[in-house]
Symmetry: D3
Subunit: 198 residues, 6 copies
């Protein structure tokens, strides 16, 4: 299986903008897409939609990896919780569905993604994680009002200021992603809906 | 299998208020619960949470049935679309998860519930259904501003004024349900998450 | 005087939808309307507008009675305060005018209804009643964010969790009512404007 | 009857700030208060609350008169409609109650004030008056977005640009008044509640 | 130099409404304009736009002076901070630019006006001044919710209740001014942009 | 002059997080900072604040350059207009002040940055640029609702769909930047306030 395979069998367009022919893409981008295809078994549509703009593609995924792959106190599942909760607040179909799948897998929990997306206050997560999401939602919806008091609440739950940066950066980066996905009408791959539910 | 069986095996409470012992419930309520258990194989938690108040229970389900079981131009799947879209706008975990399951089954479509919940403008539904949901969301979020223009748009998509009443009543009734579920911390049954996913 | 009398002498339509001929209504609905006419001396338009849909009529008034006629710690005047305050937040003319009248009568106070409708924080009511209305408005406008802290504040004013359920259910039910009244353009009867003004 | 009479018999304070002794007020302010007492039979509390600051009192009432007493295409009742509709949007108890009374009298209509306050879209007023209130509410709630299109709609209803200035200035001036009344906890006189109710 | 000089050399209109010929204005208004021209070296456009309505002009500037020229605990710079912060929240170009200039001059600080306009929480001002602006913004955006708690916070920073009145009145008056400026498309004079930056 | 020079003479901290010693930075980051210092004569604080996280720094500036330095139909001034308008909506002091300076320089216009920041509807820009900013603000504040109608309006002003992508990406990227700057309390350099005003 290679990236030259048809990227999806869905009859629906994966976005409003032209999707480049994979063969025509710069080598580094094609390699990244091949790698994810190899790992996931399909190419998540965000790769195909953003490949329309190679320089933006590179910066986007470099930023993504800098936040989501780095070491730190936030577990990978917790990072995905931030993505899912803020993306539903921004009504971003692609990010809720795709990262909901990743959250289910990272957390080894079939329920938590839908719970966190819809109303994290009622999710099966810890008070510390709820404090993390309170902060993330405030960054996402009214960052201008974030202040020392908010950092203090995080500290009360054992989060460091470096963790606060991580939470902020993830909420901010996926705010960018939500806006790109909504305007480009980026479609979640069918595969995501059922991943990790079993 | 009867309603006297333990209603759920989840370790989490199904709500903030006491859940009545099924044996102690009035006969008509126990029968309703037995019937749903028979049909679904489990008792959706909304029955158990609301049984705390028998008179409200009876009125609630009478209203529900009057809207969701009646004949009319809206298909059953379309009625569930209204529930799912407005309930996510109201951040109601129970209603999005439970009625998302019903929508998947009614529509025989594993994807549409999550799509409609998160951003119905991007869902695999018809323009006529999007107009139905535009109207439903306006009823849900700013009914004071609904006017003749909004009815006119519905008519342009072939919806009658009786259909407009149906849309309104469903959006309004589940607005009630969303508020009850959020304040009582009503928990969706685990079974709903995977129903109809394929 | 019977329900066959002309229901109102106003030249304005009482709603956007057809009003059924009383004689054609099912017996139980006609009896309910006769009873209210007997008691009030006129038929509040909500009965006539909702009679367009007999099953919904029955469920609506059963729900209404289950909340507004039941015993409990909230006085009847306090229940009407919740209706009036939340209905003005939802810009519902019918409910503010009709239940404003009932509140004046129940509270034997000619001023309190307008005060509570416009800004309950400045009304001639007790701090305990203001806490009740703080909770009711939060249920009405952002139920997703109601949590243990809000229950704790109510308890600090001597309200039980059962009272919290009552407040929630009244705010939620009249949110339904507000949406129906706004979309159907339900007109308050002229009689309500002056009732209880002394 | 003179301004030295007790201004009100209500047991409730008329505002959060000290109310000056009428005898101690500057002559021109006392005369203005005497004149309104003579005409209305009581002293509306806005005169007493604002007399705490004589210079602001003078400017406030000069502005008021420049807008509400001037000739122009807006009838006096229409000006009061603007006050009542925008003041309820701002949750100002004093202005809705006091100017509601004046609107009932000016319009010789016992119902219109409550209708306009709660939801002017459903009031017994003309489409031209609804357009006037659409503009007024936009000025009151989001003046930054008012543009040529809004003027064009007014013109389509026969309103001139001078009328648009009048609508704007009334909505803006009572926005000031609403904020002063809310922060000072200015209490409407009991007399206003029943004036003009027939 | 007199008011008969061309008021501005900008090619852009200074507002949507006709600007009166200075020679035709009532004597007192012409004198006021002459005085400001004498002092500032140019005529701020607010004088020219409002001169279209002499009575409103007189009341407006009387109110302005009653608030901005009176003695009191708020320094003149602090009063301008209130104007600038609330006017940017209301997206009023004239008031932010013109009073930003005055704030820079009053505070002898080239940076503070832009800081306060955009996000006063991050400005080089004292905690006491931030509390003043918290209160002012609440008056500007949700005065209905201002209560005893807000006064208590002010007192904790050494502000008296008379100061609270001043803050309220300035926020309320410039709310009026913001709405007039936005609807009239009042243009800030070019001179204001650079004043006090050096 | 090298990056080893003190980056700013302001007594205020440039952000809430530790600022790395320039000498300790990875070579590529130090080179980027040296280059901007060479060109601008000072180091904009965004470089110093973000250098705390080298990988995020690299991705951030790669993304920035991919959007702001690329060829395209949007002029460089127009791109800065998007930054300034959306950043004031997000109350981001750093971005409004810093990019306001760049906008003045790019547009060779001393007034346009403040105008666009406060209320672009009243700015000295073309209708085509206002349509660009209408779209950008919608992306920034409610991207979930952007649809075909919005693209159609852009096309009516001669903007292509590729331009729509550019507008979207700039609004989205600076939404990220606004959130990082607000949470890190990133301080605009004093130099920006006066650049291009002359």
């Amino acid at each position: 299986m290679t990236a030259a395979s048809p990227p999806t069998s869905s009859p629906f367009p994966i976005g409003r903008f032209p999707v480049p022919d994979l063969a025509s893409l710069p080598e580094d981008i094609r390699q990244r897409i091949d790698a994810v295809l190899e790992k996931a078994g399909f190419v998540p549509n965000v790769f195909l939609v953003l490949a329309h703009r190679p320089d933006e593609f590179r910066a986007f995924f470099a930023y993504h990896d800098a936040l989501m792959e780095k070491p730190g106190n936030l577990t990978k599942a917790e990072r995905e919780m931030i993505v899912v909760a803020t993306s539903n607040a921004n009504q971003c179909q692609y990010c809720v569905v795709a990262h909901g799948a990743i959250l289910r897998i990272r957390a080894k929990n079939a329920l938590v993604a839908d719970q966190v997306a819809i109303n994290y206050r009622k999710a099966d997560i810890t008070p510390r994680q709820k404090a993390m999401l309170d902060f993330a939602l405030k960054v996402s919806q009214s960052a201008h009002a974030v202040g020392e008091d908010d950092f203090e609440i995080l500290r009360g739950h054992g989060w460091t200021d470096e963790d606060a940066w991580d939470i902020t950066a993830i909420a901010a980066f996926f705010g960018l992603s939500n806006r790109m996905a909504n305007v480009t009408s980026m479609r979640p791959n069918d595969e995501f809906y059922t991943m990790g539910r079993g």
